[in-house]
Symmetry: C2
Subunit: 513 residues, 2 copies
Amino acid sequence: MYYNSLWPFALREELRPAKRYAVSAYQSLCKLAREQALIGTTASALSWDQETQLPPAAVPYRAQQLAYLAGKSHELATSEQWQAALESAEGDLNGDPVQSANLREFRHHFDRATKLPTELVERATETSSRGKAAWSMAREKSEFSIFAPALTDLLEIAREKAALWGYQEEPYDALLGEYERGASTAEVAALFDRFRETGAELAQQAVENSKAVPADLLDADYPIEDQKTLNREIAESLGFDFKAGRIDTVAHPFCTHLGPRDTRLTTRYLERDFLSSLFGVMHEAGHGLYDQGLPEAEHGLPSGSAVSLGIHESQSRLWENHVGRARPFWEKWLPRAAEIFPNLRTLSLDDFLGGVNRAEYSCIRVEADEATYDLHILMRFSLERRLLNRELEVADVPEAWDSEFESLFGFRPPDDAHGCLQDIHWSMGGLGYFSTYSIGNLNAAQLYAKATEDEAIASACEQANYAPILQWMQEHVHAAGSTLFPQELMESATGERTNPEYYLSHLRRRFVG
Amino acid sequence: MYYNSLWPFALREELRPAKRYAVSAYQSLCKLAREQALIGTTASALSWDQETQLPPAAVPYRAQQLAYLAGKSHELATSEQWQAALESAEGDLNGDPVQSANLREFRHHFDRATKLPTELVERATETSSRGKAAWSMAREKSEFSIFAPALTDLLEIAREKAALWGYQEEPYDALLGEYERGASTAEVAALFDRFRETGAELAQQAVENSKAVPADLLDADYPIEDQKTLNREIAESLGFDFKAGRIDTVAHPFCTHLGPRDTRLTTRYLERDFLSSLFGVMHEAGHGLYDQGLPEAEHGLPSGSAVSLGIHESQSRLWENHVGRARPFWEKWLPRAAEIFPNLRTLSLDDFLGGVNRAEYSCIRVEADEATYDLHILMRFSLERRLLNRELEVADVPEAWDSEFESLFGFRPPDDAHGCLQDIHWSMGGLGYFSTYSIGNLNAAQLYAKATEDEAIASACEQANYAPILQWMQEHVHAAGSTLFPQELMESATGERTNPEYYLSHLRRRFVG
């Protein structure tokens, strides 16, 4: 049978017009939001396809399809119809807390979407496209000056956006608000300050203690098909539902959510390091379990959507680090892994865990281990903030980077490619993003600690049975959607706002003992 | 990094509004058509994903996404904006033949899209959904009476549609017009009549001659990964461009076109029959080569779209049968196949070709060989036509089927599941579709014969070099898009309208010798 390409790409499935009856303004607004979600998830499906399936010559047309959908989404979200429904719903509150939360978010996103003039949006798109190209070349040649002019423009655009969106104290507040609703830069800075000194000391001790573990302890041949087998068994055992999701292979791993029961994880494989793909899968499965735990009936509404990157990352880190790098997990899974990979049969559990949790300083954030990872984030947060506040000149970024790096790691990167040019984020205009990685780590430790105060959950975790802790996360984190701000959610789930002590205790137990 | 599921599925890639300058009504219309193509290809991408990737629990939401896109496409194609641009362009013809052809097709599709009242469209959707369910159960129980009420309704809807669309002599004309612009039922019937007697005789002789070939001649173990290797090499050697396409595995093979450089073939694999997937791939690659040969600059317009199913099928059949089942092809490829599959090493080319072209009567159309395939189509065409014209009662379908089958094949199907219930088409309201399969076979033979009148092309084909014949098809068939009606295209390419003698000669040469 042959499908389509006959003009006009005959769409045989006709839309049945909805029956008309009286609906409230709030219901109309929800309908528009669900319509926007249909467009958004469609775009996500095309993007997933682009990363995993798309023939290379098809990229330009795919960009047209995505731009079209982005335009339609923006058109809808800034339409008079949307505005009228929003204003009318706001005048007709019924006291229901979910409705109030949704209206609060609808208003926030409507204001954000309508506050930026087209000229700025166009300039931002153009600059980020130029920025990515310049960054890519600069990194290749390890020459910051190639990227500097684009970074200057990107910072200016970020400041303009922040000014239009509005902020209390500094531009970073407004940018952070894209990822962490209700968060303030000052609070994040205070958190990071409380973490910094002890965190750096613990990292140093972890690196010191790891020197006894050979770097090539686990180096061996791990056939990719066998890695896939193990990864899938483990993802399933954590509770990831393969009837409503899948795992595919990509160059740059991610998790995406194409609808209420369609969560797609991706990973990449190293032939000589099965832990790389496995922890990648556990990380993305953590994101995926959050998505699979969102209330399906609320799909497309704030109340059915993940609340922030810092909460999202708490879930990925929880499964990757608190579950996946802990002794009980490997008590169960090392024997299975050794069935699949014979070289593991000669290792004791202690030796193996030494390899799993081996800490080492490295220049590259994405290769950093649990003990040293957050040091990379702290310095990015501080540099970004100073750049936005004009306390640091773009031209001085390489020197500022290297000296900040040296103060945390005790040595300087060999060149800019291993220093200030390593990450793509700034080049895409992704300012305000990095801090959410560490917020996620802090949240993960706190949520794990709180959940395992329940002895039944703790003892299940000791036996590598994770159904109870998943259920706790579903009830205390996932079910809330975006009805609470992230810090309200932390308070509701754990009794307090994000507190770095939980994470420091965890790092101490794991790496110093 | 984490993508989306944060409300509102933030689409970071903003649409750059087009610069405004004066455009003609025709250009506006083309812009709308290209917009509709963006929606249509997006839906095709989601459908491809549904067939090849979608987690099972995600099916209901995917249906919502597709219905939404179908609705948006229909809304656009029947909009006042479209109508105004169409009328204005029609009043401003400039004599350019491509523009005239596009306007002719725009008008045709606009009229078709606007002539059906919503009530009928809704009823058709509902009935075809009910029809598929009833057919599925009826086939399972081999009990036609379960499907009969739905078929009665589906026929009534088809007659209503035909009446609204308008036709010259009988409802089949209007339905056929969905797939073969400008074709008349009478002309198709005349073609089939000219084919029928000799075609049936040739089939009988082919079946007789094949009795000397053991049914299990090629039965062996063909590992699927090895089949994929061979299929890909062969598809590439035909000219299929893998930078602009791919092959995936599905239950029900198809080819789809997701954009100007994105053509996706699918196939299925039988462990003990490598020819099944190979000829499947050659068939779908034939569709794909047509799509890859359409003029890219005209994408989204009739002038850049395939013209009909009968022309599409001519391309798939040409590569599958005229190329793929011929001696020169296997002179080249049998040695390579035998490298991959050791059991083939003991077979002579003659014996192998005997297996490739072994003919046998079977009840099931989709399993039929080249020699007997069209007999299945002739009887479906005749029954469908009589049903639509009320010359045959629905209740009498099983008996009519079996006796018509007996007259062509010499025996009766054992039950309705192997008879009138075997195909899904009617249950989906796909009336007028079947005849295009045989039109395609007739066209394929005629186009192949005409192209190989050129001695350079013929001798290249003798050496299994298919670049020249592909180029001929690109120039004489693909490049025209839908600027000509299918029969005009046949005339332009071969000097005459579809003539069954070419196909009969081919069958005679191949099966009777």
